[in-house]
Assembly symmetry: C3
Homo-oligomer: 680 residues x 3
Amino acid sequence: MSFLLNKDRIVMGVDYYPEHWDKPLWAEDLDRMKKAGIEFIRIAEFSWNLFEPQEGEYTYTFFDEFLELCKEKDMKVIFCTPTATPPAWLTDKYPEVLNARQDGVLYRHGARRHYNYNSPIYQRFTRNIVERIASHYAPHESIIGWQIDNEINCEKDEFYSESDTIAFREFLKEKYGTIKNLNKAWGTAFWNQTYTSFSEVYVPRTTLSNSTNPHEVLDYKRFVSDSACRWAKLQSDIIRKYIKPGDFVTTNGLFGNLDNHRMVRESLDFMTYDSYPNMAYGVDSHFIETSGLRDRFWGLLLDEVRSLKGNFGIMEQQSGANGWNTAMAAPTPKPGQITLWTMQSIAHGADFVCYFRWRTCTFGTEIYWHGILDYSGRDNRRLKEITEIHDKFAAIKEVSGSEYKAEVGVVETYSNKFDSELDAWHKMIETTSKTGLYEASQFTHTPIDYVYLQDETRVEELAKYKVLIYPHAVIVTEKEASLLKEYVENGGTLILGCRAGMKDETGICSQKNMPGLLSDISGVEVTEFSLVTPGEKALVSWDDDEIEAAVFTDELSPSSGAEVLATYANRYNKGVPALVENKYGKGRVIYFGGAFNRHSAEVFFKKLGVINPLSEIMDIPEECEIAIREKENNRYIFVLNYSAEAQEITLKKDMFNMYTSASCSGKITLSSYETLILKQ
Amino acid sequence: MSFLLNKDRIVMGVDYYPEHWDKPLWAEDLDRMKKAGIEFIRIAEFSWNLFEPQEGEYTYTFFDEFLELCKEKDMKVIFCTPTATPPAWLTDKYPEVLNARQDGVLYRHGARRHYNYNSPIYQRFTRNIVERIASHYAPHESIIGWQIDNEINCEKDEFYSESDTIAFREFLKEKYGTIKNLNKAWGTAFWNQTYTSFSEVYVPRTTLSNSTNPHEVLDYKRFVSDSACRWAKLQSDIIRKYIKPGDFVTTNGLFGNLDNHRMVRESLDFMTYDSYPNMAYGVDSHFIETSGLRDRFWGLLLDEVRSLKGNFGIMEQQSGANGWNTAMAAPTPKPGQITLWTMQSIAHGADFVCYFRWRTCTFGTEIYWHGILDYSGRDNRRLKEITEIHDKFAAIKEVSGSEYKAEVGVVETYSNKFDSELDAWHKMIETTSKTGLYEASQFTHTPIDYVYLQDETRVEELAKYKVLIYPHAVIVTEKEASLLKEYVENGGTLILGCRAGMKDETGICSQKNMPGLLSDISGVEVTEFSLVTPGEKALVSWDDDEIEAAVFTDELSPSSGAEVLATYANRYNKGVPALVENKYGKGRVIYFGGAFNRHSAEVFFKKLGVINPLSEIMDIPEECEIAIREKENNRYIFVLNYSAEAQEITLKKDMFNMYTSASCSGKITLSSYETLILKQ
Amino acid sequence: MSFLLNKDRIVMGVDYYPEHWDKPLWAEDLDRMKKAGIEFIRIAEFSWNLFEPQEGEYTYTFFDEFLELCKEKDMKVIFCTPTATPPAWLTDKYPEVLNARQDGVLYRHGARRHYNYNSPIYQRFTRNIVERIASHYAPHESIIGWQIDNEINCEKDEFYSESDTIAFREFLKEKYGTIKNLNKAWGTAFWNQTYTSFSEVYVPRTTLSNSTNPHEVLDYKRFVSDSACRWAKLQSDIIRKYIKPGDFVTTNGLFGNLDNHRMVRESLDFMTYDSYPNMAYGVDSHFIETSGLRDRFWGLLLDEVRSLKGNFGIMEQQSGANGWNTAMAAPTPKPGQITLWTMQSIAHGADFVCYFRWRTCTFGTEIYWHGILDYSGRDNRRLKEITEIHDKFAAIKEVSGSEYKAEVGVVETYSNKFDSELDAWHKMIETTSKTGLYEASQFTHTPIDYVYLQDETRVEELAKYKVLIYPHAVIVTEKEASLLKEYVENGGTLILGCRAGMKDETGICSQKNMPGLLSDISGVEVTEFSLVTPGEKALVSWDDDEIEAAVFTDELSPSSGAEVLATYANRYNKGVPALVENKYGKGRVIYFGGAFNRHSAEVFFKKLGVINPLSEIMDIPEECEIAIREKENNRYIFVLNYSAEAQEITLKKDMFNMYTSASCSGKITLSSYETLILKQ
């Protein structure tokens, strides 16, 4: 904590795997790192065998020796627990610790994260090894913090082992008490699914048409999240017994079927993220290409990380081409791109950056997941760029600790996130709006925050947003409805998209007229609704703008006092209200009958007066992102050119260029991938 | 029988699931149904647990109570057997009742139809539950008929459990007597497949290149069909012991690997069908889009149902959007479409219509398989449309019992249907011609019947068709050849497409010169044949028309007396006969060397003088279908506008508009999705 | 040997399956074959049950009888061992002989090659049956040679049975001695993969993200190859005990994960190939269509066969449409194509041709894998064409034994072949260059040889090539580097593409600066490298030519004395050297930073002076291939028109048309698919 965050500078680190290199290289590597400005390294990920080469046989010499060298070279260390990759001797002797394919086939040794969280045997081995490692190494003065496991829920966020079924039953017993309650919550009256005992319940198994009960799947996702959170806590509880004051516990990544907010709350001091925007330029990048965001899509992911607990760190920042020998091939970062993506991380709230990795591994699946250096380790262009980034970090050190600034909050909940993954209709609207809003945010220079509604959320956290957009409040609880109501009553503007209030927490559809629990504040009743036929477009006239009701059309009937802002402009429901505003308390709710694509989101930003908060002081082309961080009356404006072409920006007033410590104004040309950080 | 069919009116029903709703809603729902014109409901589908909540524990109170309410409200009831969804307690205790993936993985509880027909245990449970239900409920005066199971062979029409292997061996022993006969019939001399004992034979298992012996697969399909037919009979035999005089037994759907004709003949009073043309507008509808038929494709399916036993009922008629939470998302029917699709069903031979379903289920996989009412149950546009349809039913009541009228019969057999599914070459020609002929039929207003050649088929049934088209008589038996010969001798016109006479009943190729058993009547010998290279087109000049020999080119050598009508017009076989007519008896056979696409089928209809039998009395645009039903010298002409645009038709003589009971003639505009029923 | 190869004529045969036909047809068939010019037949493939119908019950009468008929008719015979298709009684009783899917599901009876090589039980059955067959039939005077099994490693070249794991461990123990050595060779320090015992090692199993250790996979491929080679040797060792002097042992095909050179060296007298160029015109042919080579792609395959041991035979030459009932549907060969593809085989080094098959099988999976005759067996166009080919064979008989002539050798190794299949980056460059070079070869009329570097390779074998192109020497051993050095020192020109010297024999990346072991001779250092972003193009200016560095860009730094021939022409690395020539000894090495596409390969051929060696004596359009075979100062020039259109060629001097025995010169028109063989 003290070392990496809340400081007045941005610290640079690198991931290092001493076990991959001959010992003679170690000292040389540490010296070269220091010279490049690297102050800490992450080590011991995936290293179980270096602590316990055989069952019950322990050794500490490898990392003792290495940590002594770190101490000598004044290199700080983040130490990892090794549980992401159990040893061969363990999984071969105890195959019940393995995760399984849904049809029962075990995932075998050789990759990573092939274990299941709920195996009592694996939990026993994990407790033992973490206890031993933490107790042995934690006192070492070079260590500044700990990483638990690696990328929890990465590779696979579904678990189908027998231990998982046993734990799932316990999870359900605790949640529902009786099988009757479970039957009700899962709607098992449908298709004669009624259970007579918890022993008849399993994690989702192979079914015809791959169609497990959706309420079960929703609970199963919560169960996986619960298992992962308990997994992190199992380890952090042990580590915290031993760590030195000021040392932190974290983990890295942001993966599915996981309530990351809970995991952070329960187990971590802060979150770190592994950022690889270069995937957008690789061979498997079609999903990103279509949105036009390409590497800017990683801003969305960074915003999600920031939503967890504010500023964060980057545990793995791209410094070379990425790729496995089997997939994800991407080119080498072009000159400037490592800087660009590093500044993207910082712009969105990172306060330290650790590059993945020092040298590129010469063996194994990740020979193409390049580090700063290539296989030979020789000095190269990328190391030079890293060294220059270190100089830039010095120039912008006061940015550290400042806060990302957004007037627009986009509301999310884990229930809706999980439901939109299992419900094909929900998924269509959710992914359309998520992408549409983010594209509009990026291309119109309108920063956003993601705001998760949780049990702990207080209305004050919402009140700071001029506008909250809750694209699809499909699942709404009474508590959430009440929180949103309070936000609006106090003067907030809440935008709701189609399908609001459709389901309760179990994923069962409300028998209230939609938008159900949100009817009161929104002042509308949805009289009809329809998916838009693929190939068709549903248009909406909103003053002079024509927008699309993407994917879905809710037909709205305004209650008295509510105002129709726009109506459908074509097709069979032409003239029917599509957009209704309802004044409520000091605020208002605007209900939109469709999902948000890029263009409609831009029109919303414009009409709501939140578009581009910097428009008065600078003109920025679409190709560049702007981000704002604030601290103590200072405003730090990041301008990031994601394009391979030079871009011209115009500063309409004098500003301070932090890299050059010089004033600047008027037309400025950013070369390809160039970044600029202005202070105001 | 007495209630639903062969009456002088068209009865309307709805599917209802009392177990999905709180009891207080029941009476209200029944009242509202009656008000809308609904006279019967289907219930108890998927309700095993409501009869036998634990093994050997029986209860009848739920439906006793509900049926009493029906009696009170004068609502007639179709009662279902619950065998499509075995209880969790059953499959958990006896997993051997489950169907399996080909590689042995069991399909588990939670979806539907996950049982196998041949499990002795499941047969025992089924006999028991059907016996109990039928004996208990059958006397109830509200009940008018019974549905067996639900959609037999839906979800999956392949069965790979161990019980299936045991039953398959019995099936084969009965069919072949000795393993030597089986070896011969399956051509096991190929690839050393010879069996020495029936115990070495299995249902198709995992093989390299997924290439099980094709003759085995053909017999396996017949075996699945046999299992399904025996399954229906097992249940109908029990039900018939108990039902009141006049009550009927039916089932719903039309699925693969099933000789539906046999099932109807053995077990059912009539067939019902589940009609969801809106799938054509959903997200998974690419296969339909390409044909241009979209929702008109369901006419083909309805014609198939009619081929079973003439007029039929609709057990599930689309009344809302369809979709599972995992797949098949489609929009809400647009205003008019429910009427359109209802009239499509009636036009093609339905005499009663039961809408799926009253309220949309609020839980489970089918929350998007909408009913008339949405989740809230409030009155809506669709209920209004249903009520209006009821008025239309009153206006056209005399249509009931009338017969669909077609001059063209398209010949099919189950052997060819099955073979075309397992044989990639056969499939290409079969699907091309099936689609091509149906498109031509729809767009040129040329009604067709499907005519299945069966053991029971008599020449009189064929004789009523001016023209029989047997697109690809790949498998022909002596009996079939003789029947066709008789049809032609008596004056019929028979059109044969490529590959006729290629195989015998086992799927083994004839060593006769093709068209083998059909050589005599067709007067041709196929001297060479070839698939058409993908990307190429094989053209045929036929008088002034140029048509395509789609997919395949048989090169024909006419026997003396046969006349070459057309020759190939391009490529290496230019000038070679492609179309030969042979006068035979009082009739003629025309052999065409290719498969039929839409255009070639239209040219055939035109040249054969069967195109659009109504052309002299009306002009109808392509966007509208016409269908003709006849009864006692009355002709009922359905005009159905499938387009979202208005369409103009012209009546060249005065006709009687049944909806309005008014005479009409000249230009008439049908608005989007509008239907018109004329009497003549 | 004596009969089929090294003779002064080209012998014609046909594949025959007497067990598929009624005995009365046999004599008739043999007579008709002889009449068509067919001198030998291949029989007994897939016939285990005809020798051992039950376990331990042997019979020889079927083929005794058939061979007597062959003797009577003077038909020579190639006899096959039947091991590709074990009997049902065998696999049913001993399922452990079966191959398995990676997830453990066994591949069952009914297809072919479903056994595993390493099953002790199957090895026992195989030894026994081969011993019995060889000892019984080998003395028969009609037999001229033996085929082992059928298409070794076809259908599936991966094996996952338990026997394979046991054998894999033995293979690894022999290779590595200790588990420590294995850990080092496989880089198990990555992802904590370290093994403590061989018993923890398995053939690749199901892993998350399908990502087994790449070095393990590389060794696994070598293990599969080793197993297959031992399999062939097991059989040939037995056969050679019994065969008559002069009779040969061979097998057919060319499949993956197999060091065919070793197999030939250890077990075969020569190799035969199964050539089906018509696949290029079938429904599953997309991979071939894209290259523009279509049926000319088979030239590449034939060149690979020739690389094994020079001239070869064709065991299955396409004579009808191909296709299974499940896949690979292709049209009937058009008039001339059988001749074309036969001459393609001969042009590339075949000295005998055996057509697949006499009659088309009327049952089983291959009813569409047509023979010369169709199902009826009647005389047809294709038999006529075969007969005409026989006349052509007579006219060109002296071609037999002549040698294919190429000035360019394309270098390959099995290590790189295997590695490029498991390494996605390696695959991209390898497939691009393999296709690019072959397209350039075909379309510019520049014959090439494939040259495999093996332990046995001597520099003399390389010295005959004016130019060696080693597209991607990713894995290089010291021995290979030294061989290439010697070739260059002695005056050779060696072209290297990107990524040379990257890995050692285990697939571990070298820590030397690239090109590692090839640095010395190439005179370059690769300072940076990058995949090219999909969608981008990396251009290179080479004098007046602009070529593409396909897939990859190595940035080159020339050592002193080396000359920069070309630089990158666009993007961020514009101006950086992309092509460097280094004089070395009497020769030179040219290093190219990218992969070779068709156009760049053409430019290389042109600049290196090896393009179209016949350009001075004839003008040939791109649509025609030319090939040159030489013997005793005679040059035989094949001109093959692959096009459906007539093509005009120009002979600039008088030449001898071997078909017509007439002199010819000037403009000559080849009709569609026509071939011409000139002697000079």
